[in-house]
């Protein structure tokens, strides 16, 4: 646990931590010494030597003053370390998480991480004052008392020494059981929490199918699982606490029985025996607390472990400085193979060269690897074999900042921040002038959205704000890309079908982007496909055809077949005309 804390703190704060620990231990020892002074005091008092009793009270006064000083210092230092841990933890976690490869972020990880960070904050805040200090004291004080017992009677000290391993074992078991119960609890809480998030996010679907008022079984199951895990965890903790309590009880009984028999046998002064039993009574209190705290510490340690686990996730290796990029705007995949899981390749030996300022359309069935190509170019993950070059240099030889500076990404899942619409568009280039912002917005059709929203540019969008439709979100995303004015644009068209308004803006934006940048587009719309300089057809992770629209249609292969099915699809109607009219019929016949 201390080592986990040191890991979170980093080397520069080690001394602070050790300083604090030294002072707590000091307090524990001083408190033990003060308690031990009870023995000579009681011995004096029980035989009626008041003067000696006062002398020992004087000695006690000295020990108590020192203990108070030590307590004050450790409290202040402990708080200081807690604050450092708190800020350092958030800073390092933030830094580290931003350096992780994008493949790392799954919904479950995101849920766990946010729970960890929020829960972890409060845990760390109370860790030192309410956990570490009592725990260290609860060990140091009895240890001091046990050692001091040697001074008074070696036989009782031996009895105490015999009990020590028993206590240690019992506490270890107690802590392990409590910790295991906590792991059960935590896993169930994460599962139920994720379900609650889903319940909130999918509320529309759930309601549409009567699962709002009617109850949503998976969530109810998760709640029930959490209840069961809670019960199991209590049984485990109870077993642990019983074991610990029993051990303390045995230790105490051994001590007092030994004392009593020695005194009865006449080999131990009865007065001393009574004073020592009084001391032993004081000594089991803190020990029993060790048992209680050990479990809580285990829980805290589990939290810390999870934090440390996140901190030790490996980021993708990055050079300190980027290699030279001799060919700005060029993208090249050189015999690239890649799979998200070992053994299931998604791309197999894909080679593709996109010259600067050309437009390439990627087409292919879903699952053919189109999205993966764009993800590898943006280095969401590293290839298994081959090389991805952007600007003429291997992406692995470039820093994230430099690589991303060349790319603009317009993907399907457009993420909007919980900020204003302007913030969201400006993300493309925070220092853009109002003129540039307005131009990008005009081209992408964001101006229309601004006009519609109650507070215009200052309207809050994203989670917790006004929600935009799918088409509108993509427009925002395109505006970002336009504003960024990057060498290379990676674009995943959201849809094959746009309403006339979106269609108009999209076509305009595409033209503007193609004029200034290299465009690699996962194309769904016919105009995009047809208008590309080159069309690349992917199938099952391989490039099966490439060429211009005319060439490929003439080839009569996969692309030609795909075109054919698109044509059929365009003639579709939700419902056939009820009263066929010449005009409507004509539409159907026109579409070949």
């Amino acid at each position: 646990m201390i080592s986990d804390l040191l890991l979170i703190l980093g080397p520069q704060h080690r001394r602070r931590m050790f300083g604090y620990l030294a002072w707590v231990t000091g307090f524990g020892v001083l408190q033990g010494l003060a308690t031990v002074l009870l023995v000579p005091f009681l011995e004096a008092l029980l035989v009626g030597d008041i003067a000696a009793a006062w002398t020992w009270t004087g000695v006690l006064l000295l020990a108590v003053v020192l203990a108070c000083v030590a307590y004050h210092v450790q409290a202040m230092r402990g708080f200081g370390v807690a604050l450092v841990v708190l800020t350092t933890m958030h800073e390092r976690l933030g830094d580290h998480v931003s350096s992780l490869p994008l493949g790392w972020f799954s919904a479950e990880r995101v849920g766990r991480l946010s729970r960890l960070v929020t829960g972890g904050t409060m845990m760390v805040a109370g860790l030192f004052a309410h956990l570490l200090t009592p725990l260290v004291v609860a060990v140091a004080t009895p240890a001091t008392i046990a050692l001091a017992m040697l001074l008074f009677d070696w036989r009782l000290a031996v009895a105490a020494a015999v009990c020590a391993p028993l206590l240690w074992l019992a506490f270890r078991f107690a802590a392990r059981w409590v910790g295991r119960g906590d792991e059960l609890d935590d896993a169930a809480a994460v599962a139920a929490g994720n379900r609650v998030v889903e319940f909130a996010r999918a509320q529309r679907v759930l309601r549409a199918f009567g699962r709002g008022a009617g109850g949503y079984a998976p969530l109810e199951d998760a709640i029930e699982d959490q209840r069961r895990a809670g019960r199991r965890s209590i049984w485990l903790a109870t077993a642990g606490i019983v074991a610990g309590g029993f051990a303390v009880q045995v230790a105490f009984s051994v001590l007092i029985l030994t004392g009593a028999f020695l005194a009865l046998g006449g080999t131990l002064d009865p007065v001393r025996m009574i004073a020592l039993v009084a001391l032993a009574a004081r000594f089991t209190g803190p020990l029993a607390e060790v048992g209680d705290y050990a479990g809580v510490v285990r829980i805290a340690r589990n939290d810390l472990r999870r934090l440390v686990a996140v901190l030790s996730e490996e980021p993708l290796p990055e050079p300190a400085a980027s290699a030279a990029r001799p060919e700005p705007g060029a993208v090249e995949l050189d015999r690239v193979s890649f799979g998200y899981q070992p053994g299931t390749p998604v791309l197999r030996e894909v080679s593709l060269r996109i010259p600067p300022r050309s437009t390439v359309a990627l087409v292919g069935a879903s699952g053919s690897g189109k999205t993966t190509v764009t993800r590898l170019i943006a280095r969401f993950a590293d290839v298994d074999a081959g090389t991805v070059r952007v600007g003429g240099a291997d992406v692995r030889d470039q820093t994230t900042e430099d690589l991303m500076a060349q790319l603009a990404l317009v993907f399907q899942d457009v993420y909007l921040f919980d900020g204003t619409l302007e913030d969201n568009v400006r993300l493309g280039r925070p220092d853009a002038t109002p003129g540039e912002l307005a131009e990008a917005a005009r081209l992408a059709g964001v101006t229309e959205i601004v006009r519609r929203l109650p507070d215009g540019w200052a309207t809050r969008v994203g989670e917790g704000g006004t929600s935009l439709s799918g088409g509108e979100r993509q427009r925002v995303s395109i505006a970002r890309a336009l504003l960024k004015d990057a060498d290379i644009v990676l674009l995943d068209e959201a849809t094959a079908a746009l309403d006339p308004e979106n269609e108009r803006f999209f076509t305009g934006s595409m033209r503007a982007l193609a004029r200034r940048s290299t465009v690699l587009v996962i194309a769904h719309r016919l105009p995009t496909v047809v208008g590309a300089d080159r069309i690349v057809v992917l199938d099952d992770g391989r490039i099966v055809e490439q060429g211009t629209h005319t060439e490929l249609v003439a080839l009569g292969g996969r692309y030609a077949a795909f075109q054919e099915s698109r044509r059929r699809a365009r003639g579709w109607r939700l419902v056939p005309a009820r009263t066929p009219t010449p005009a409507a019929t004509a539409t159907v016949e026109e579409s070949p």
């Binding site: 009270t57 800020t87 958030h90 009567g210 079984a217 209590i234 009865l264 917790g464 439709s469 960024k484």
Partner: protein, 606 residues
């Protein structure tokens, strides 16, 4: 009808009042807490009685130790029987305390687990009935926090506080009572340092409630900053601004740290003084000095002095628990009030006497709507629309015109702020919600599959559907074969081994609607996210779905709905034109212009 609407508009009257003074708030919190804890009150009482017995047992060893001392110190050889009896009493008293208190704690812990599950169920059941707007105003993180963290905050006051509180009172009172019985001066001696502690503690607690409130707010900020940061990092990284996004998070954390430091540091000094006043060394010192004096003065015997010292040492140990208990109770009370408020969120009013829709005609009469409940900008400004049973009505128009809003009102995601929406002649507000969803189905624009099996997803609207019905629906939605190709077929779990493309997910959602088999169907831009490779399949599935139902479709591609019985052009919250395709073309208005634009787009593609 109007009364219903009025209730809708001023639903949360008392709840949204500006925050009352802290005292009233504290009272409200306590009341909320008491109310939430009602289901486990009986168990808690039993546990408290046990705790009282256990605490009293803690004194037995000290009383017995006095007996032991007396047996040894009396002149003459000690009586073996008396000595051993005392020894066993000491050991037994200690054991009894552990066992009985442990039992009490186990009882309350089980009660806590039961209560948590109960509250989560209540919350979920309640939230399933609040207006949908409640969810769009909050992030999912807030909901999670309520269901997990706020409920968890009650843990201390259910599982620990009642038992520890009883112990904290019984042990000192019994101890001091015993000392008083020995000698009143000993009782006073044990109490000497307490006033210091009490004064320091009271001073420390000033303004505590507000501070805890602030701390919760800070923590919530970190929480949402984290969620925001982590879920947005992918996009942010691609713009090379990971550091910038990270800043929001770092700032939230730093602010929290600063606030925490400013609040706690001055308090810490006082806390140290308070804690020291009742700490073992100080109490020991006072007790030793006091008893030395009393014995010297001849007021008490040395054995009484020893008992006095030991009992004095025990008295304050439980008081710290009282202090912690108080702060835990405040945390819990604040959480309880939040939960209570959440559970008191007005639900969509349920009809007193629900009526069954007669037929499946959809009628909108003068429907007005605004998301902020009447006073904000109106999204719909008087919509009249009649969709006879078994017909297809298409809504077209620019984005933001209000098409989608109309569609959501049919499923009663929200209640209209003016006018009425009727299905089968009955206002949707007078239909039992459980009945309504059996009549109205929905295929949404953003396809949402839930984390669960494919079968579970399709069965969402009809959990009791047979496997044959399930497979038929999926076959009709043209997704059956694809599902069979998944590693575990229908039992594959979405997001784990069922990795579906947008178009495939869309077909699953269509299968879901097919299986639900509702006579009224709302299609919202249903093809918008389809991938073209499966477009033909989706189209076939949709045609199958629409057949024979009363359909309201929010359309994007005009060519798909030319055959609709009625096309309504929505613009700026009003219906500006309506009629069949031919009528509207002939009229030469908005629709005709849209159609021309649409056709030219199609031509471009060729």
């Amino acid at each position: 009808m109007t009364t219903t609407i009025d209730e809708q508009q001023v639903p949360a009257g008392p709840a949204v009042e500006p925050a009352p003074d802290p005292r009233a708030r504290a009272r409200a919190e306590s009341a909320a807490l008491a109310d939430l804890l009602r289901p486990v009150r009986g168990t808690i009482r039993v546990a408290q009685v046990l705790a009282a017995i256990g605490s009293a047992a803690a004194l037995v060893p000290f009383v017995a130790l006095a007996g032991l001392a007396a047996a040894f110190l009396e002149p003459g050889p000690p009586d073996d029987g008396a000595v051993l009896g005392a020894v066993w009493l000491i050991v037994g008293g200690l054991g009894a305390r552990g066992v009985i208190t442990g039992l009490a704690l186990a009882l309350t812990h089980f009660a806590d687990v039961r209560l948590q599950a109960l509250l989560r169920r209540r919350m979920v059941a309640h939230l399933g009935r609040v207006p949908l707007g409640w969810f769009s105003e909050r992030s999912s993180g807030t909901v999670r926090k309520a269901a997990q963290d706020d409920v968890h905050d009650l843990h201390q006051v259910v599982a620990h506080h009642p038992v520890e509180w009883v112990g904290a009172w019984v042990l000192p009172i019994a101890g001091i009572g015993y000392l008083a019985w020995l000698d009143w001066r000993l009782a006073l001696l044990a109490l000497v340092t307490l006033p210091w502690y009490a004064a320091a503690y009271a001073w420390m607690m000033r303004g505590y409630t507000e501070k805890v409130e602030q701390m919760n707010a800070g923590n919530e900020r970190i929480s949402s900053a984290v969620v925001e940061f982590v879920s947005g990092i992918a996009v942010v990284k691609t713009f090379g601004q990971a550091r910038r996004a990270h800043r929001g998070y770092a700032e939230a954390a730093r602010d929290f740290g600063r606030f925490y430091s400013e609040w706690v540091r001055p308090m810490l000094r006082i806390e140290v003084i308070a804690t020291m006043a009742i700490s073992a060394p100080v109490v020991l010192l006072v007790a030793c000095a006091g008893t030395a004096w009393f014995v010297g003065a001849g007021w008490i015997t040395p054995v009484e002095a020893m008992t006095g010292i030991l009992v004095s040492l025990v008295v304050p140990t439980t008081i710290t628990a009282l202090g912690f208990g108080a702060s835990n109770r405040r945390t819990a009370a604040a959480a309880a009030l939040r939960l209570h408020e959440l559970l008191a969120t007005p639900v969509l009013p349920e009809p007193g006497e629900p009526r069954e829709p007669a037929g499946h005609r959809i009628e909108l009469a003068g429907v007005r709507f605004s998301y902020s409940g009447g006073d904000g900008a109106e999204v719909l400004r008087g919509i009249d629309l009649d969709c006879p049973e078994g017909t297809v009505t298409a809504l077209v128009g620019p984005s933001g015109a209000g098409k989608t809003t109309v569609a959501t009102l049919v499923a009663r995601f929200h209640d209209v702020t003016g006018g009425a929406l009727r299905i089968g002649g009955v206002d949707v507000r007078e239909i039992d919600p459980a009945v309504l969803y059996r009549h109205v189905g929905f295929v949404l624009q953003d396809v949402q599959l839930l984390h669960g099996t494919i079968a579970g997803n399709v069965r969402l609207g009809r959990p009791d559907a047979t496997d044959d019905e399930l497979h038929d629906a999926c076959r009709a939605a043209r997704i059956h074969d694809r599902i069979l190709a998944l590693p575990r077929g229908y039992d594959s779990v979405v997001g784990e081994d069922a990795l579906l493309s947008g178009g495939e997910a869309q077909r699953v959602s269509i299968a879901r609607a097919l299986l639900a088999d509702t006579p009224v169907l709302v299609l919202d831009e249903a093809t918008a996210f389809a991938d073209p490779e499966s477009e033909a399949e989706i189209q076939d599935a949709l045609s199958g779905l629409a057949a024979g139902r009363t359909v309201l479709v929010v359309a994007h591609r005009l060519s798909t709905i030319t055959g609709a019985d009625r096309i309504a052009v929505v613009d700026d919250g009003r219906i500006v034109e309506s009629g069949t395709h031919d009528e509207l073309l002939a009229a030469g208005g908005r629709y005709a212009a849209m159609w021309a634009a649409h056709r030219s787009g199609e031509d471009d593609a060729r």
